[in-house]
């Protein structure tokens, strides 16, 4: 187990380093200078000395390796650099925006699990052909629907027609918990549906696998109710392969948040990222994407380690590697 753990940790760190190099190079090698947007878009009337001064101030006149080391070194010490555009430290920008994103992603994950797990369980207990068809339809459509389409439909129904829920903006949870949750509800449902569909799909596939296992026949043979068989025996075993998918989804929630926050005009990390692309604010963009990659790699690491906890068989098998 220890050897496996160490090996897994080393590959994760290595992947993260590789990701950071990839992000860094993509944003440097291709022409397009952030100083131009900073000076007002048109380069014609700008004093070249001013450009030089800004390039120096942002550290863009240094060699690529030196820039990279400076950036990564800063991130490792908790210094995420400054925005090229607004001069605010990235840490400040992130702390201003992270609340809206965290609330959205946590709620979305909850909603996603609340749809997918009971859905799969009911499907397995009830074994109704029509309900199964409904679940298949839901997953197929849910996977194929871009979040902004779901979002717009929800805005039309609940915002414009029924006038039940707010459709724009963000209210801090700390200040007004109730209003905050109400504002977050539609975006969270939007992202939640996008989250639920793939989880439901993988859960149902692995339930089908588990159903044929001998211990299920035993459980049924000893006279348990269908509900007991599903809840105690099928679901826990089916959940193990689904863990990977859940991990991938948790890691990519920030990607989904980009579009959802845009639709619902939430000032979160997603909208911050889109803004930074518009402004060529690489200082913000590179750090945000690196943080997202770190979150992604970290969740998949945690999921892999969880496997060892959830399924004792894997501990010995993998430890022998």
């Amino acid at each position: 187990m220890l050897r496996y753990l160490v090996k897994r940790l080393v590959t994760s760190v290595f992947l993260l380093v590789l990701s950071s190099i990839l992000i860094f190079l993509l944003l440097r090698v291709i022409p397009g200078d952030p100083t131009i947007t900073k000076l007002g878009g048109s380069i014609k009337n700008v004093n070249p000395r001013a450009i030089e001064a800004i390039r120096h101030q942002l550290g863009l006149d240094r060699s690529l390796p030196s820039q990279y080391v400076h950036w990564v070194g800063g991130v490792l010490h908790g210094n995420f650099g400054r925005s090229y555009f607004s001069q605010f430290p990235v840490t400040t920008l992130v702390s201003e925006r992270i609340g809206a994103t965290l609330e959205l992603t946590i709620l979305a994950m909850l909603i996603g699990l609340l749809i997918s797990v009971p859905g799969a369980a009911i499907g397995a207990i009830w074994r109704n052909r029509w309900f199964d068809a409904f679940l298949s339809g839901f997953t197929a459509i849910g996977v194929a629907t871009p979040a902004f389409v779901t979002g717009i439909i929800l805005i039309v129904i609940f915002g414009l027609k029924l006038k039940l829920l707010p459709t724009q903006g963000y209210v801090s949870f700390a200040n007004h918990p109730f209003v905050s949750l109400k504002t977050a509800l539609l975006p969270a449902i939007t992202l939640g549906i996008a989250v639920a569909a793939p989880i439901l799909r993988i859960l149902r596939a692995s339930i089908t696998d588990v159903e044929t296992a001998p211990f299920i026949r035993t459980a049924e043979g000893k006279g348990l109710f269908r509900r007991q068989v599903v809840v105690r025996h099928v679901l826990p075993n089916a959940a193990i392969p689904a863990l990977t998918t859940v991990g991938v989804i948790v890691g990519s929630l920030l990607g989904g948040a980009v579009v959802v926050e845009y639709v619902f005009a939430r000032p979160g990390l997603g909208t911050l990222m889109v803004d930074s692309v518009f402004q060529r604010d690489y200082g913000v963009l590179q750090t945000l994407v690196l943080l997202a990659a770190a979150a992604f790699i970290f969740t998949s690491l945690v999921v892999d380690l969880l496997y060892g906890v959830v399924d004792p068989r894997l501990r010995t098998v993998r430890g022998d590697e």
């Binding site: 993260l16 039309v156 890691g251 980009v258 845009y262 692309v277 060529r280 997202a292 990659a293």
Partner: protein, 290 residues
């Protein structure tokens, strides 16, 4: 060609034809293929079949809801939305097709090289793929847009780059399993040239897997192009794609909620149909993996 060779050719031929028939016999697959065909023809033949001219402005019919004369309604300049969706499909489908082609060619090359070069070259290639896949697609897309800029051409390159790593991983794993096969051993033992083995033996045998993958990549490409265009970082005006139509509809949501609905539904239907088609292709062509 020897008689035995001809028999094998025939059997292979029959197997391929069967695969097509088996695909069409699956009702969802047949329906999905029909939908894709309608969308492609609708876009390609837009100048012939579209009910209006794409830029025919009509100030007496701004933001019209769907009706018999305008099936999808009209936009902020009174232009017919069905027509706009058909013309937008040209951009969206063109981008998706070209990006799929790029990602398939680049990814297959990438994966094949990684499979053949077992040492540090292969290892490095796959780790780069892992690193690229270790980021949410939309976020890596944003980085690439920041790098390459937002235009139709750069979108094709961007989407091609986005989906190449996953294709590379698939190409590598399916090639590795082919390298275990008897026919590969036979080809090597009769001294066939490397070129002949790769192009004549290995590529045709991995093609079914890659074909199914290409369909799914096309679906993802439409999805991501629409997402990027929707936030304003994809196709730029005056260019029109499904994503930009949806964005225009979204900004006018409070004047006409019909406006974004149809472009949105078309994106949904296109992605759904391609996904269904890809899943079924996978089941028919590559039953072991599906």
């Amino acid at each position: 060609m020897s008689a035995a060779g001809a028999t094998i050719e025939l059997a292979l031929d029959r197997r391929r034809r069967n695969a097509f028939i088996r695909l069409v016999r699956r009702p969802p697959a047949a329906l999905a293929a029909g939908v894709v065909l309608v969308l492609v023809v609708g876009a390609a033949a837009a100048p012939l079949v579209a009910p209006y001219k794409p830029n025919a402005i009509n100030f007496t019919h701004l933001f019209a809801p769907p009706s018999a004369t305008h099936l999808f309604g009209t936009d902020e300049l009174g232009r017919d939305l069905l027509t706009r969706v058909m013309y937008g499909g040209r951009t969206s489908l063109e981008i998706a097709a070209a990006a799929t082609l790029i990602s398939m060619i680049a990814g297959t090359l990438w994966g094949f090289v990684a499979a053949f070069r077992k040492g540090w070259v292969g290892e490095t290639l796959m780790r780069i793929a892992d690193a690229a896949m270790g980021m949410p697609v939309i976020l890596l897309g944003l980085v690439l847009v920041a790098a390459f800029g937002a235009s139709t051409t750069s979108l094709i390159v961007i989407l091609g780059c986005l989906f190449a790593p996953a294709t590379a991983r698939l190409a590598r794993s399916s090639l590795l399993s082919e390298l275990q096969s008897d026919y590969y051993l036979a080809a090597v033992s009769v001294g066939a040239s490397a070129r002949r083995i790769v192009l004549g033996e290995l590529l045709p045998n991995t093609l079914p897997v890659l074909l199914a993958r290409a369909t799914l990549v096309a679906a993802d490409a439409i999805f991501v192009e629409a997402s990027l265009s929707f936030v304003g970082l994809g196709v730029q005006p005056p260019g029109t794609s499904w994503g930009t139509l949806l964005q225009a509809g979204y900004t006018n949501l409070y004047r006409s909620y019909w406006y974004p609905i149809f472009p949105g539904l078309v994106i949904l239907v296109a992605v759904l149909a391609l996904n269904i088609l890809g899943d079924n292709l996978q089941r028919v062509l590559d039953p072991a993996r599906a």
